[in-house]
């Protein structure tokens, strides 16, 4: 164990790469999820079909295989992505597809009365979605998005197979250099857990913020236990 602890700079560098990968992939995946999710829910027939194809194709293809494609096969037909880009692309295409289903489901779950009201008010489609449907749908999306974000973090471990020096990659290197399998894996297990907790705190914060935005702030509990939250809320406005 001491040998592994001694090599902490290596592990920290790996953790930083893992965090970067997670954030980049999450941003790209979010854009994809929003785009394909929204057109999948409210688009015309052709748009819906395109969204369907994207979701089914990338939801059904293995991240690792996708990554191998981008890393080994594409250079032979004309594109070379840097390993990091290949990793981010493979992960975000995959998780964007999962996310698109979450977005679609959330939009469908907004009460129909809300939609009917926008029609009654003669709002154009863009305004309906942007002003009424999406703000309510976002609140429904956040918990499953939190799940996906943590899954994405853990899925980044496969990039160690395409020469990106992430946390898992560093753990493998330490294993080979020291032979201490158990210690190396315990160390990275803890580090993944810590990163996941930070991500989940972030999602929780977003959930609270969205609820407040919609005037759905949990009443009694929030009032009783978190006067600080009220304070911050006031400060932000």
């Amino acid at each position: 164990m001491s040998q592994i602890l001694h090599a902490y700079p290596l592990l920290l560098r790996g953790a930083w790469i893992t965090v970067q990968l997670t954030l980049y992939s999450a941003v790209v995946a979010l854009v994809l999820a929003m785009a394909f999710g929204v057109i999948g829910a409210v688009g015309g027939r052709v748009a819906r079909a395109i969204a369907r194809v994207y979701v089914e194709f990338f939801r059904g293809s293995a991240t690792l295989v996708l990554m191998y494609w981008l890393f080994y096969a594409l250079p032979l037909v004309g594109f070379r992505f840097q390993p990091m880009v290949a990793g981010v692309l493979a992960l975000s295409l995959n998780y964007g597809a999962y996310g698109a289903e979450v977005v679609r489901g959330a939009i469908r779950a907004v009460p129909t009365a809300q939609y009917e009201a926008t029609v009654a008010l003669n709002m154009p489609t863009y305004q309906r979605v942007r002003r009424v449907i999406l703000p309510q749908a976002v609140a429904l999306m956040l918990p499953p998005f939190g799940n996906l974000l943590i899954e994405l973090l853990k899925a980044t471990a496969v990039v160690s197979l395409i020469s990106i020096a992430d946390l898992t990659f560093r753990a493998q290197q330490l294993r080979a250099a020291t032979g201490q399998t158990a210690a190396a894996f315990v160390a990275v297990l803890v580090m993944y857990f810590v990163i996941a907790q930070v991500l989940q705190l972030f999602v929780r914060y977003l959930e609270r913020r969205t609820a407040r935005m919609l005037g759905r702030r949990p009443q009694r509990k929030a009032m009783a236990t978190a006067p600080i939250a009220t304070g911050t809320g006031a400060g932000l406005q």
Binding site: A7, P75, R80, V85, L161
Partner: protein, 295 residues
């Protein structure tokens, strides 16, 4: 009001994320990609060459400070420096992914102590060998199952651990070990853990790797059997490790071979690879890649 600010923040975050990604993409010319070549000139000009390694101690691995080292990378440093390329950078892949990575130009040389085999010769251009390895088995102390050769393993229905893409799996199959009894592991530590957990009865690998693994687990109840050279159809299978290049990089290959021959003649080779457990018995002698490619 709030939504405008949110819009702004959201698009700013997206742009910030997208910018580095866009900057990191590159396209290649497919024709040039397939023909390859020009690596020597490019490496000299940019001042470094990228080598692929499999994180297999002691052939090519990263030490606990993150520095690339091992028999092949250290030898690469000496040879390339004398060829006018001052720096060697490592790209780590699974052993089984090295040839694919070389062909996809993820790096320019395989520096992993890869054995020269006829199958691999069809895909890459090997330099002359820089060491000869003999095979051994890691078994529980006292070798209760009496495994000395692959034939013993076949007869006694022993479960053998081998590494992905490594030659031992091939030897084992050809010498009669049943496919079900060959377990493939991604790397040495995994194979070692497999042995410890009782998933396999023995690891088949080069003596050098096994001794190296055992060294890291002082006092472990295992031993390495006396090394041998497997014979297939009466032909000895020399496990000769060499650097591998893309076929198109013939200038780089011949420059490398020239320097390597110098190191062999002057006796400097031994000094470079000795720290990694290689001895006089592992020196390659006069074996050439051409000879080994014939099988």
């Amino acid at each position: 009001m709030t939504s405008t600010r949110r819009d702004f923040l959201r698009s700013a975050a997206l742009l910030a994320g997208a910018a580095p990604l866009a900057a990191a993409c590159s396209t290649t010319d497919p024709a040039k990609e397939r023909s390859g070549g020009g690596t020597l000139a490019r490496a000299k000009q940019q001042g470094y060459i990228q080598v692929g390694f499999a994180n297999e101690s002691p052939y090519g691995y990263t030490d606990t400070s993150g520095k690339l080292t091992g028999e092949a990378p250290e030898l690469a440093r000496v040879v390339f420096k004398e060829l006018g390329i001052p720096d060697v950078k490592g790209v780590q892949l699974d052993f089984g992914g090295l040839i694919g990575g070389l062909q996809a130009r993820r790096f320019d040389v395989i520096a992993a102590g890869m054995f020269v085999t006829p199958e691999r010769c069809a895909q890459v251009a090997f330099a002359d060998p820089d060491y000869i390895a003999t095979t051994g088995f890691m078994v529980p102390k006292g070798n209760p199952k009496g495994i000395q050769r692959f034939e013993d393993a076949a007869k006694k229905n022993v479960k053998l651990g081998v590494l992905t893409g490594a030659v031992e799996g091939d030897y084992a199959t050809k010498l009669g070990v049943k496919k079900d009894n060959i377990k493939t592991f991604a790397d040495q530590p995994s194979a070692y853990e497999g042995l410890k957990a009782g998933r396999i009865d023995a690891i088949a690998l080069t003596r050098i790797s096994l001794v190296d693994t055992l060294k890291k687990h002082a006092g472990a109840p295992y031993e390495v059997t006396p090394s041998f050279i497997p014979q297939i159809g009466g032909k000895p299978q020399y496990g000769a490790g060499a650097f591998a290049f893309r076929k198109a990089d013939s200038d780089l290959l011949s420059a490398f071979n020239g320097k390597l021959a110098e190191l062999k003649q002057s006796g400097r080779l031994l000094g470079i690879i000795q720290p990694f457990g290689f001895g006089k018995a592992e020196l390659p002698g006069a074996h050439t890649a051409a000879e080994l490619c014939k099988g």
